[in-house]
Amino acid sequence: MDKYDPEKRVGLIVDEWGSWHEVEPGTNPGFLYQQNTMRDAIVAALTFNIFHSHADRVQMTNIAQMINVLQAMILTEGAKMVLTPTYHVFEMFKVHQDSMLLPAHTSFGTYEMENEKITQVSGSASRSADGKINVSLCNLHHESDTVVECEIRGAKVSGISGRILAADSICSHNTFEKPNDVKPMSFDGFKSSKGKISVELPARSVVVMEIE
């Protein structure tokens, strides 16, 4: 599209993104009812950060689907309801809505497994209408922590707060019996000095920090 529409007059709407796994055992295969784990949360965060990096072109995106089907945010059974790890990523990333994308120049290590290589960390940043900077980071690695060094240019750092979504296993998930095994927690794994922020990202984690 950059070749045929360099002025970016045409926007992209990305419909029905998300992971598609085998259905939960014992459920109707046609209903596409699948569990949702920390792995799906990482897929969601990674996908959001990719969308953010193309904010000049991507105008709307829609996950497939919201409730009980595919990478759902909510699972129900009769009157019971459980929020999935993917739900929590949506909730954490809402600070980016209606905000201005900030250019992020990134250099991260490599996550290598079974001869495949991908960048270990995904990130994006935006500034909200009230001037706060929100940075979202995701450590894709299933077992290795990492440290991210951030340098904020053009703004003074007076305060930082954060939330993290992490779990004991990449397969951790919420059930009707244990609905809060995976949920956002307060995050303080960062140090700030002279405009630079050092962030300790645990393995398989999603972090959103608010910088004032």
């Binding site: 259905v23 055992p25 014992g26 109707n28 046609g30 009812y33 009980n68 129900t76 059974e77 009769g78």
Partner: protein
Amino acid sequence: VETAVHAHDGNCKGCRASVRISQKEIDRIISEHFAGADVALADDATYSLRMAVCQICEDLVYGTTCRHCGCLVAVRAKLAGKGCPAYSDKWEKIA
């Protein structure tokens, strides 16, 4: 041409996923689901009673599936610890 072949080869999950499940398919799912599984199963009498309730329930769809949880009732009814997802005592009432 490639797309047409893909759409009909039956290997794509989107192509093979159907809400209408044959008894043979249900038998296969039950066999796989419980093979070596360390779960408490309902006894045959309880299972039969549960199935009788589900078979006349207005929330049974496609003759196999509970509208409230998407489960195949033939599988759910086999699990001792499970109940009706919509009405907690519906199965117990007939036990």
